[in-house]
Symmetry: C2
Subunit: 419 residues, 2 copies
């Protein structure tokens, strides 16, 4: 038997994830990992572990030379970055589950990894238990990824399932999600797409070597999904999903966005219901793989943290192969999208921004259109995010060769087939 | 940019997989991999590549010092082993897609890897494009795997889909599978479960460190699935799948088998239709992940071979962590199974071998029973594989604590609730 590294862990946070980890590591000596000290905010709560295990002083962990791994499962973004960066500078490997922190400080964290040579693993921050980072890094370690499409936020997917499949309205769906613990009491981060785009930003680095802030990506949440949209989805036998998508273009660049999307029943993502997450990877030879698992909750998160801890025994590090070993891809917003837009008041819709409009449903109280619009004309604009306007992508929404399409559209118009 | 290893490849086989690889590697210089020479059986066919690329002399590849990687995508088991072992002894890394060869020579291949220090990768041999080996090795690199359940044979899954969901009879289903190229003209290997158990044998090593020949595993194919079985499945709104299963027991050992199984609609494996494969991994914290993709065909196979080639640029090797770095698990056949058995002639069924019988359906022309039987009493026996007897596991088929169950069953009998 080769020697594995013995891990002595300092743990930040002792909620369900932290306590679960403590128990599993205690019961599994073969993991060669012991929690030496746990840092908590305050001693108030009664905890099912020896009192001597706990401290409220972060330095007790960060300055302990015996501790070679810091595991951080806390909620506070700034505090988490402080802990993670200090730990790495102090020569410790780190496992983190803080997606917002990873996304916001990504450039700094890349630099810290280079500078310290320490490992920072954060599989739990992406799709909880689905090993998406690990597979993008290790298995799809070439530049032949055609596309990655994913549902990365469990709360909104739970709500959409209730709205589309079970006919609940938005408020009822949100209330149910909150009651089940899938959504925070302030659900803005999830519902308005911030959580999803945070994850998508750093997954783009592992998929394509793209390092961008979230504001470079077109994104929205599900806050404007209207009962009419659900009716339309059901009529077409489609689902509405909040889809994070990245797709290689003919010019070698990558288009990426996080937007609600109608998906057909034969799309793997239609299978992803309730609080689950799913990832569809289209790789070389046009072959598709689908990864599926719980995207939120304490067990899936603890499960991913455990895999990361376990990998540290073999000194595993993300190599960021697409960024450092390949020619990284550039992000492009130079594409057009096929969109559905529903609205109450036509004057809110800048029709002149559309390349062309394919469908027009104006008879009902709530109106909608289907048209082609450039990403550039959506970027930085708010008309499609506010005043009850709901923009949803159609299946296969990306159009690259707009000129060809335009000519075709024009000839159809001239022939009187469409108008 | 760190330096990647430059790969100079000798390729054995130029069918659809081999030719596809040749084209992709040619079009993708960033992969740092060039095919120097291709060994084929004979020059007969016209091929879409320069004539100077081909040879019929294997030594031209195996003895070429420039060639540092041998990729082998041929059909002949003995020839494949000869090529692979010679290549490794000659200091070359190897990528193979020959599942039968990997299974039959597994012990020898383990020894060769140790002895030569060379890498042997064979992801394409397991579930084609699903990265199951890589994830079992790298992501589930601890001993907390509760179970792995999988559909690993695309041909039989295609046939079962046609039989159960579309009402075809066995012969029609087989004919369709053959017409679509999912089954060989001699389909015994697939249909009688040999292909599935071959794959399961070496996946057990990556999952649990178990190294066993296939005859240590209870297995069967789908050759005896009867129209009555399909009717029963439909009545219960269940599917029948050929499930490869491995499950950790309370005593720390692992039960493993490949048998037809009724699965409920909420089982992830029920989602796996037609020629697809799927793997459900239950890991620490009772969390489940599902991997899904095409299990057969030239594109998925080529896709997996390409990922393996790509990984060799970073000198990737299987470490067989469960075998060498952990305490390997032992295989146990000391369990009981809940089985459905349908038959025409009751005299073929050794009723005395059952612990107890829960259901008895004798009125129809084709009869069936549901009962509890030990693996030991099935092992090495043929009554349940021949003369049209069809044995199918029920959902959650494994019973460990037979004594407790027996007592409970007896008390129910005494109470007159069952008999």
């Amino acid at each position: 038997m080769e020697t594995q590294k013995q891990l002595t862990i300092g743990l930040f946070g002792f909620g369900v994830v932290g306590e679960g980890l403590y128990k599993v590591l205690n019961q599994t000596p073969s993991l060669n990992a012991t929690i030496k000290k746990v840092c908590i905010k305050n001693y108030g709560k009664k905890r099912d572990a020896p009192a001597s295990l706990f401290t409220t002083e972060k330095e007790e962990l960060l300055n302990d030379r015996d501790i070679n791994v810091i595991v951080e499962v806390i909620d506070d973004t700034e505090a988490a970055f402080d802990i993670v960066s200090t730990a790495m500078k102090n020569g410790k490997d780190v496992v983190s589950a803080s997606k917002k922190m990873i996304a916001e400080y990504f450039t700094e964290l890349l630099a810290l990894q280079k500078e310290t040579g320490k490992s920072l693993l954060y599989e739990a921050a992406a799709c909880a238990s689905i090993p998406v980072i690990r597979n993008l890094e290790e298995y799809y370690d070439y530049d032949l990824l055609q596309s990655v499409r994913a549902i990365v936020n469990g709360s909104t997917n739970y709500m959409l399932t209730k709205i589309i499949d079970e006919g609940l309205d938005f408020k009822q769906a949100l209330l149910q999600a909150q009651q089940l613990g899938f959504a925070e009491s302030n659900p803005t981060l999830d519902v308005e797409g911030y959580d999803a785009v945070n994850k998508w930003a750093f997954l783009l680095t592992h998929a394509y070597g793209i390092v961008e802030k979230t504001d470079a990506l077109l994104f929205n949440g599900i806050q404007n999904i209207h009962a009419t949209d659900a009716v339309v989805a059901n009529e077409k036998n489609q689902e509405i999903k909040l889809v994070a998508q990245a797709q290689k273009l003919k010019n070698g660049k990558v288009a990426a966005f996080v937007l609600p999307q109608f998906v057909n029943q034969n799309d793997h993502l239609a299978f992803v219901k309730n609080e689950y997450n799913g990832v569809v990877i289209e790789s070389g030879f046009a072959d598709k793989q689908f990864f599926y698992g719980k995207g939120a909750g304490s067990f899936p998160t603890a499960s991913a943290v455990l895999s990361d801890i376990s990998a540290l025994r073999y000194e595993y590090k993300y190599e960021y192969k697409k960024l450092y070993h390949h020619q990284p891809h550039a992000l492009s917003n130079d594409i057009f999208l096929r969109v559905y837009v529903s609205f109450d008041d036509i004057s809110l819709i800048p029709k002149e921004n559309f390349e062309w409009i394919e469908e027009w449903h104006a008879r009902e109280e709530r109106k909608y259109l289907v048209g082609i619009i450039s990403v550039a004309s959506l970027h930085g604009k708010n008309w499609w995010k506010e005043n009850g306007v709901s923009l949803i992508l159609l299946p296969e929404p990306v159009i690259e060769e707009i000129e060809t399409r335009k000519l075709k559209q024009r000839s159809l118009e001239l022939a009187g087939i469409v108008n």
